[in-house]
Symmetry: D2
Subunit: 302 residues, 4 copies
């Protein structure tokens, strides 16, 4: 269970007392505030704060004095236009702050998104909890034969059991030793900043992460994508569900123009045009490499 009773009580207390504000309020987002949505076996995502809503995107795009909304229909058209034509700055006018609990190896991928603000739990200052990510058996897969950085078929039951046994026992032993090294019970006790290096990257850390909506969309496009590693993808998807309620018009545009769209190269575009004119285009006449042609065939077949 990711949250203690004390933690749960603190969260409840925050949810219990609405206060008046003059700022833009997203009703859809208020319902999510502070809730810890579980991800993986011990992780979670919870929204701490947000700034702006769909109307705020339009207000900034128009540099207007009032709320910026003439009508929802106008706002929708403007937002779709902005998304379609890569006008990113109005989306930067919305901001979200999340509290995330996640395995260290996921945190290492996540932090590569640099245009964001982060405060991470300090293992120099504090003691890490005994919580490690142990994959569900159906997530244990072999190295992909096609893609050098992905997963292929699920492991056999016996092999999966053997792997889980290793992951659990190594994590337990490393954590026992971590505790033993830092313990000052009858001895000096190793500095935390050193002892932590004995812990595997399956251990959970947590951080506050704040990002604007444009950069969040970029994160979601890369990390909610099927090529992303499963363990970060589930975080991206949990965040996406919240964003859909926060800024429904912007999120729909994002889905239509980014997540659900494709980019065609000059060669691919040329092939589409020729095919629409009735020409039979083959790998040989496409001007693409074998790999590109294979990717292209998947795109047009759907």
């Amino acid at each position: 269970m990711p949250l203690s009773q004390d933690q749960q009580a603190e969260i409840e207390a925050q949810r219990a007392t609405p206060r008046p504000t003059l700022r833009a309020v997203s009703e859809g987002m208020e319902r999510h505030l502070y809730h810890a949505y579980p991800v993986l076996d011990h992780g979670f995502v919870r929204v701490i704060d947000y700034m702006g809503d769909d109307a705020a995107i339009c207000q900034a795009a128009r540099v207007s004095y009032g709320k910026g909304t003439r009508s929802v229909q106008n706002d929708e058209g403007l937002i779709r236009y902005l998304m379609r034509h890569w006008h990113s700055t109005p989306f930067e006018m919305c901001e979200i702050k999340l509290h995330v609990k996640l395995p260290v190896f996921v945190a290492r991928q996540w932090i590569r998104h640099r245009t964001a603000n982060v405060n991470e739990y300090s293992a120099r200052y504090s003691i890490l909890d005994r919580e490690f990510y142990i994959p569900a058996p159906d997530q244990l897969a072999a190295q992909s034969a096609l893609n050098n950085q992905g997963r292929g078929a699920a492991l056999s039951e016996a092999e999966a059991a053997r792997v889980l046994d290793i992951l659990k026992s190594d994590a337990a032993r490393c954590y026992d030793h971590y505790q033993e090294m830092i313990s000052d019970d009858g001895k000096q006790g190793l500095a935390r900043e050193l002892a932590r290096m004995n812990l595997p990257t399956s251990i959970y850390t947590q951080w506050y992460w704040k990002v604007d909506l444009h950069n969040l969309f970029h994160f979601l496009r890369l990390r909610a994508d099927s090529h992303a590693q499963y363990e970060i993808r589930v975080y991206a998807k949990a965040i996406a569900r919240v964003v859909a309620d926060w800024v429904p018009l912007a999120f729909a545009a994002f889905e239509d123009y980014r997540m659900g769209g494709v980019t065609l190269s000059a060669q691919a575009l040329d092939c589409v045009r020729r095919m629409l004119k009735g020409e039979e285009v083959t790998a040989e006449t496409s001007g693409m490499s074998a790999r590109e042609w294979r990717e292209f065939e998947e795109v047009v077949a759907g």
Copy 2:
């Protein structure tokens, strides 16, 4: 008068309807929301939105589950510690969004602060208003003899009158011609994106500007400083007054450790130490250049 009745009415409407939120609320900031504080002759600064408060800084620094406040005293001590030791990330967890109206030559300095989000009024798309910054007579000063990029003594009354006359008449003529060029009354009318180039940089533009508190403090340190050009300094000071009510603990720490503090070089620190031991230190024995010594003397004299 910077705001039309329509604009004023839009602002009043936004201020009239508080709504409930579960987010952190800064009472001090709510009072400022949407008010347009006049700056220079036609400019203003107004807060459109904000995220976080003093407690949110501490909450992020502690990566805590609840509000992060144990007591105001604890929060104050933590905030001062963070500021003193350059732990900037917790301050990045607060965000502010401003609507600013400002002359173009001021906007050109302002935009150099890159870690911020901006939506500017588009002169390709829209027609600029006939509003130019004309300095108050007491702001008309000669080039500084000491500092190559500053102002010296005030101009004589006659010279100031002559300058004002030039600024006003050139601005008026350029704007008349701008209107004439874009007018399609009986002719084609020049594209706005071209016609705008005839306008002097004293013309007012406006933008939405969003920035986190850490980067805002950096902006204020450089632009509220006495070396900054007067015309941007007055904007920085107007913003500083609002920030003081938004995050009073963080702002007090900023004043003590940044605005009111000084940085001593290795040589200057060495001189202070020697002087405190009773040694008579002179420009010659200081190890500093003449200019550095002069700056140092001002610092220690106060």
Copy 3:
């Protein structure tokens, strides 16, 4: 003429003395170094320095010990793969530093690209030259009737002549007054930081601009595009010509996957698939807005 004899002599001196280096050298780029390529009537672009080449992109992508080149063919395949799959970090490992002279209204668009380093000529410290952008007559166009932020048909000869006359005479008068205000000949002379505000944004400024290749490609994609204002597009195109010689493999991939490619929305992709299956798709059955359908038709027709 944009360069004085002194300036030309300085440039020649720099070009005259090659020195040995162990760093990656791009032969194609060495030929461009320091040359000032004219843009518009008084502007230019010249390369001051660069870091890396095509091989350096591959070397970084492989985090390898040596030069990173197994063969040019391997490098080409890797570079195209990286570009196709939005792996942007290896392209960030190349850097370019330019010296650019450009009108202020162009500089104001350019500076919106924030992930770059800039040093601009200071009009607080120095006196600006009497050089203004005056468009060639064939560039004087009316406001577009279709696109709110673009140009339409060329102005009639009479109207163009009238506009040029305004632009020239207003610029000349404003500059005369600028000089008069700052002159300390028999008077105090206004501070430069104030006098400059009388100058129209057609005046030329100059800066050093340094950017990594990934962000430069992003700049080129937006600014070399046909929707960009002509006056910045010509700078983007001048830079693109240099980049093509600097990193020929990366530039070719950029042309194929970015400049020459298109992004299809979910709806557009669905329409393409249906059309390839022989279905007759119309604006009504497309699921797109009228405007999107028009844009889509242009894309598939070519």
Copy 4:
């Protein structure tokens, strides 16, 4: 030994063939290029490329046409002025690219410096080497009693031996299991992206890291500081030695105004002034907290 014979041969090959360039060349830096300077037990830092030198900083600050050097003395004065007055943009005009091998827990601190470009060795794609950081015995210290995030006294010999034994045996066992899990010898083999999570953060990774000189100075100020964790401080110091030869004037200014300097708060400055006037100032009359006063006493005593 961190480098294999093949890797050493690749490095030698790169060092063997200087090529002519017209770019700015730093003789001091050329001597360092590609050399792998050892850090910790298996790590290293080596310079892959650089852009600019001291003269380039001045050239950019002056936005000049030629090399920017009038004389070394002028350059030195200008560089010191820029550093003293926080004019950071000219320092951004120099760039360095490093190849670094470092333990994962150090990489996790390092990556928090966001204004840099990074390509890290991918453990999704490749297999990590069996190399772990095992501290030298004199680096094994207890948690500090004074500072919650630092080290105190060295561990006793017996305790140190016990800790080393744990670190070595846990790392060895985890790596054995990592190899066993990914092995496809007679079985499927777990995907690398999953198996890696079993490895402790003492394992070495490597990356290419590119940063401008201003941001590198910021990194060095924080990470070469005595409060930084020893394991990152040694990397910062190795880099500092190289930078001192690359841009000697800028580095000397950095040492005088940043590393060797101090920042005094408003209260501390007031105390210095009173003390210089002969007043006896105590903790009680200082206006500082007990902790600040202790820090202040250390600063003025030296």
